[in-house]
C-alpha cells in the first residue's frame, strides 16, 4: 500500500474517532503535544483503529512512531503484510 493512501486513511480515522478538526490536522502535526494534545486514552484508540484498518498491531511500539501521521503511516507501510 502507498504511504499517501495510508496517511489519508489514518487522517480520516483521527478526525472521525478523536474529534480532531480537519483544518488543523496536517501530516506533520505533532499529535501528543502542542495544540492537539492527545493522551494515553487516545493512543489506545489509534492502536485499535490502525489494527482495524491495516491489521498492524502497534501495542507497545515506541512512542516516536506516534509522533505524527507521517510516522504512523511509515510504521504501517513497513509492517503491513504484503
Amino acid at each position: 500500500m502507498e504511504k499517501t493512501e495510508v496517511a489519508a486513511k489514518i487522517k480520516a480515522m483521527l478526525i472521525e474517532n478523536l474529534r480532531i478538526p480537519e483544518e488543523i490536522l496536517e501530516d506533520d502535526s505533532e499529535l501528543f503535544g502542542g495544540d492537539i494534545g492527545l493522551d494515553s486514552v487516545d493512543s489506545l484508540e489509534i492502536i485499535a483503529g490502525i489494527d482495524d484498518m491495516f491489521g498492524v498491531n502497534m501495542t507497545g511500539v515506541d512512542k516516536t512512531n506516534f509522533r505524527d501521521i507521517n510516522a504512523l503511516a511509515n510504521y504501517v507501510v513497513e509492517h503491513a503484510e504484503a
Binding site: P21, D35, I36, G37, L44, E45
Partner: protein, 731 residues
C-alpha cells in the same frame, strides 16, 4: 442537636451471594464469585472473567436488570428492617443505568425487531422510580449517577435528605448489572485483568462484577420510636472532586486524602478512631498506587486494618460503594475483618513491604473489635466519596446554624423553538476558544459535556468568580439530568452491537458515564468541592438546586453550581414521539447552571445577589391511590412554602413544568387550585422542552424577575419520573 442517621436494614445480591447471609459467609470464608463471563460475548477479548449474579428468581421481569437486582436487595432490606410503612424514599446509585436494555433494544433493532418496551428502561432516571413503584412507596427519590462512587454517595445523600426534613426512612444503595457496555469499555481501555483481579497485590487490572446493595437509612429517633434493630450509625461522610483526569486518579492522592479528611471531620473523629477501612481497591495499578499512598499518609501509626472486598465480588461499579457499605456495616456489627483474597506466600512477603505499619488483611477474615469503619470509593470523572459507620455512641453534634443561600449567577445555552418538532443546538470550537477552552479539552467533550461546560463556565463568569488555589475546594457542582449522555451511550453501544465486544471505543467510553460532564467541568475549572450528578427526569434540574442547598448547609463549600442539562438524540426523539409525553411541544436541548452561594461568601466577595433560596421540598408518587401524583405535587409546593415560612398568597409568580398527558392536566389543576391568584409561567415556550435544562432555567428566570423587582416571591416546580421538586425564591 443534629439529626442522627442510623442503619436499620440490609439487603444484597452480588456475585458472592444472593442475600446477606450467603454473601457474608462468602466474605468470612474468603470465597470468590469470579468466573468465566456468561452474559456478555467475550469472543476475541483478551480477558473473559467477571463476577456475575446467577439467580433465576429475580422479581419484576418488566424492568431493566439494574432495577430487578435493586428490588431483590431492597426486598431483603425492607424485611430486615421490619417496616410496612410506605413513606420511604429510594436513593439509588448507578454507573451504567439501563445499559442492558439499550443493548437489548439495539440488538433487536439490528435483527429488524422494534422493542419499544425497552425504551422506558434505558435511562438511569427510571431506576429509583421503578423500585419505588414496585413497593408502592412514596418518599423522595433520586438516582446518583457518579459512576463507581454512586453507591456510597446515595447513602450520604439519604442522610442529607433526612437532616433537611425530606423524610425519615430511605432505601439507599446502588445497583449495576453486568453489561456489554462496561465490559467492552474497560476492555478497550486495557483495564481488565486477565486473571481474577488482585487489588492491593498484583494490581494488574479490574474484574467487573454486578449486583445491588441496599441499606435502610433511618433517622435515629424514628428508629428508636419503632423499636428498630440498629446496626450502626452513619457517623460522617465526604464527597469531592479530584479535578485531575476523566478516568485516572490523581497519583498524588490529594483528592482521596481530602475526601477521607472530610469524612473524619464530619464524624468528629481522628484516623486513630478508625478500626477498619474497606478500600476502593479496584486492582488497577494507578488506583492501587494512589490509594496505598493516601492510606499511608492518613493512617500510618494507627492500628487500622484494610482490605478490598472487590477481590471476591469484582468491581460492581455503581453498586460497588453500596455492596461495600453493606460489608462494612456487617464488619462493624459482627467484629469481623473481611479479607483481600488472592495472596500467594510470595505475595505476602511483597505485601509486608507495601503495608509498612498498616494491617492489610490477606486471604483470611479475622476477628477484631471494630467500633468504627470507613468505606472509600473513587470514581471515573474524579468523584471521590468516603463514609464512616460507627457502632459506638458518638458525641451528639450541634445542629449547624441554618445558612442563608443566595443565587449569584447564571449560565445558559439552550435551543430556540422555531416551530419544528425538534430544536437542536450546534456548538463549535469557537464557542469554546472564546471561553479559554483549548482543543485538547474540546475534543474530549461529547454533546452533553459541551453543553454543561459552557453553561457552567458562564455561570461562574456571571457571578464574577475565579477559581484559585484558595477557593478551589470550596466550589462544587450538582448536575441534574433526565437522559444523560444518551448520544454517546447509544453510539458506543451501536458499535459493539454491530462489530462485537472488542470494538468498544476507548475514546468514547469515559463519556458514557453520566458524571463525565461534571468531571470535564471540574478538571477544566479546577473545582475540587462536592460533585454529584442526579438523574431523575425533568425535575432533576430543580432537584440539583435543592441538593446543592443542602451541601452548602454542611459547611465544606461556599459556592455550589446547580445545573440542569439534557441533550437531544434520535433515541430521545423517538421516545418522546412514541410515548406522547410531550404532545406537540418542540423537543429541545440545552444546559442551565445557577450559582448558589452562602451569605458569608456573598458578603466577603461583595457579590451581586439575584434572589434568596427561601425553601424547597422534594416528593414522589408511584401513582398509587393512597398517594397520587396530585397529592405529591401539592405536598412539594406546600412543604416548600412552609419551609420558606410563607403562605400561598405571598407568591407572586409560579413557574411550572408539567406533563402533557392527563397527569399534566392534573398537575396544572392542583397548581391553579393552590394559586388561584397567579398564572403559571412555562419557560419552554421559547426554547422547546429542554427537560432538566428547562426546569433549571425557570429558576434562573424567576431569580432575574425578582432582581428586576417585577415580583418579590416566586415558586418553581417541576415533575419527572414520579418526583416533584419545588423551590421558593424571595428578594
Amino acid at each position: 442537636m443534629k439529626k442522627r442517621c442510623v442503619i436499620t436494614g440490609l439487603g444484597i445480591i452480588c456475585p458472592i451471594g444472593n442475600n446477606i447471609e450467603e454473601s457474608w459467609n462468602s466474605i468470612k470464608n474468603g470465597r470468590s464469585g469470579i468466573a468465566k463471563v456468561k452474559s456478555v460475548n467475550t469472543e476475541g477479548c483478551y480477558a473473559d472473567l467477571g463476577g456475575e449474579v446467577h439467580y433465576d428468581a429475580l422479581p419484576a421481569p418488566q424492568y431493566d436488570r439494574s432495577v430487578r437486582l435493586c428490588i431483590q436487595a431492597a426486598q431483603e432490606a425492607i424485611q430486615d428492617a421490619g417496616i410496612q410503612d410506605k413513606e420511604v424514599g429510594v436513593i439509588v446509585g448507578s454507573c451504567i443505568g439501563g445499559a442492558v436494555s439499550i443493548d437489548e433494544y439495539l440488538t433487536a433493532q439490528k435483527q429488524g425487531i422494534q422493542k419499544d418496551d425497552c425504551i422506558v428502561n434505558m435511562a438511569a432516571s427510571s431506576i429509583a422510580n421503578h423500585v419505588s413503584a414496585y413497593f408502592g412507596l412514596h418518599g423522595a427519590t433520586a438516582n446518583i449517577v457518579n459512576a463507581c462512587a454512586a453507591g456510597t454517595m446515595s447513602i450520604s445523600y439519604a442522610c442529607d435528605l433526612i437532616r433537611s426534613g425530606n423524610g425519615s426512612m430511605f432505601l439507599a444503595g446502588g445497583t449495576d448489572p453486568f453489561s456489554s457496555l462496561a465490559f467492552a469499555g474497560f476492555h478497550a481501555l486495557h483495564a481488565l485483568s486477565v486473571e481474577s483481579c488482585s487489588p492491593l497485590n498484583h494490581s494488574n487490572g479490574i474484574t467487573l462484577g454486578e449486583g445491588s446493595g441496599i441499606l435502610l437509612v433511618e433517622e435515629y429517633e424514628h428508629a428508636v420510636a419503632r423499636g428498630a434493630k440498629i446496626y450502626c450509625e452513619v457517623a460522617g461522610y465526604g464527597v469531592n472532586g479530584d479535578a485531575y483526569h476523566i478516568t485516572a486518579p490523581d497519583p498524588t492522592g490529594q483528592g482521596q486524602m481530602d475526601v477521607i479528611r472530610r469524612a473524619l471531620h464530619a464524624a468528629g473523629v481522628t484516623p486513630d478512631d478508625i478500626d477498619y477501612v474497606n478500600a476502593h481497591g479496584t486492582g488497577t495499578a494507578k488506583n492501587d498506587e494512589a490509594e496505598f499512598l493516601s492510606l499511608h499518609t492518613i493512617f500510618d501509626g494507627t492500628d487500622v486494618s484494610v482490605s478490598s472486598t472487590k477481590s471476591m465480588t469484582g468491581h460492581c461499579l455503581g453498586a460497588a460503594g453500596a455492596v461495600e457499605a453493606v460489608f462494612t456495616v456487617k464488619a462493624v456489627s459482627e467484629n469481623v475483618l473481611p479479607p483481600t483474597i488472592g495472596y500467594s506466600e510470595e505475595d505476602r512477603t511483597a505485601l509486608e513491604e507495601k503495608a509498612g505499619g498498616l494491617d492489610f488483611v490477606a486471604n483470611d477474615s479475622r476477628s477484631k473489635e471494630i467500633s468504627m469503619a470507613m468505606s472509600n470509593s473513587f470514581a471515573f470523572g474524579g468523584t471521590n466519596a468516603s463514609i464512616i459507620f460507627a457502632k459506638k455512641e458518638l458525641q451528639p453534634q450541634d445542629t449547624p446554624k441554618k445558612k442563608r443561600i443566595f443565587i449569584t449567577g447564571f449560565g445558559q445555552v439552550m435551543s430556540q423553538d422555531t416551530g419544528t418538532p425538534v430544536a437542536g443546538l450546534t456548538l463549535d470550537m469557537k464557542d469554546f476558544t472564546e471561553r479559554g477552552v483549548k482543543l485538547g479539552v474540546f475534543r474530549k467533550l461529547d454533546k452533553f459535556s459541551q453543553l454543561q461546560l459552557i453553561s457552567g463556565i458562564d455561570a461562574l463568569s456571571c457571578a464574577k468568580i475565579s477559581v484559585t488555589e484558595d477557593n478551589e475546594r470550596k466550589i462544587g457542582m450538582i448536575i441534574g439530568t433526565s437522559a444523560g449522555p444518551v448520544t454517546e451511550v447509544s453510539n458506543f453501544q451501536k458499535n459493539i452491537c454491530e462489530k462485537g465486544t472488542t470494538a468498544g471505543s476507548a475514546f468514547t467510553f469515559p463519556n458514557t458515564v453520566y458524571n463525565a460532564a461534571g468531571g470535564h467541568f471540574s478538571i477544566f475549572m479546577k473545582t475540587k468541592g462536592y460533585c454529584a450528578t442526579v438523574a431523575n427526569g425533568t425535575q432533576a434540574g430543580i432537584q440539583s438546586i435543592c441538593y446543592a442547598y443542602d451541601v452548602l448547609q454542611q459547611g465544606n463549600e461556599d459556592i455550589m453550581l446547580a445545573a440542569g442539562t439534557d441533550e437531544g438524540s434520535d433515541m430521545v426523539t423517538y421516545f418522546y414521539e412514541h410515548s406522547g409525553i410531550n404532545g406537540d411541544r418542540t423537543l429541545g436541548e440545552g444546559s442551565s447552571t445557577i450559582c448558589l452561594e452562602t451569605e458569608a461568601s456573598v458578603t466577603q466577595r461583595e457579590a451581586v445577589t439575584y434572589a434568596e433560596v427561601a425553601g424547597y421540598a422534594c416528593t414522589h408518587s408511584s401513582g398509587m391511590e393512597d398517594y397520587t401524583e396530585a397529592t405529591a405535587i401539592k405536598d412539594a409546593v406546600m412543604s416548600a412554602l412552609a419551609k420558606a415560612d410563607m403562605q400561598t398568597e405571598d407568591v407572586d409568580a409560579v413557574y411550572a413544568i408539567t406533563g402533557n398527558l392527563p397527569d399534566g392536566e392534573a398537575q396544572r389543576a392542583v397548581l391553579s387550585d393552590i394559586f388561584p391568584h397567579v398564572e403559571t409561567i412555562d419557560v419552554r415556550q421559547q426554547t422547546g422542552d429542554c427537560r432538566a435544562a428547562s426546569a433549571n432555567a425557570q429558576v434562573a428566570e424567576a431569580a432575574q424577575a425578582i432582581y428586576q423587582k417585577k415580583i418579590a416571591v416566586a415558586l418553581a416546580v417541576s415533575y419527572g419520573c414520579g418526583s416533584y421538586s419545588a423551590i421558593v425564591l424571595k428578594g
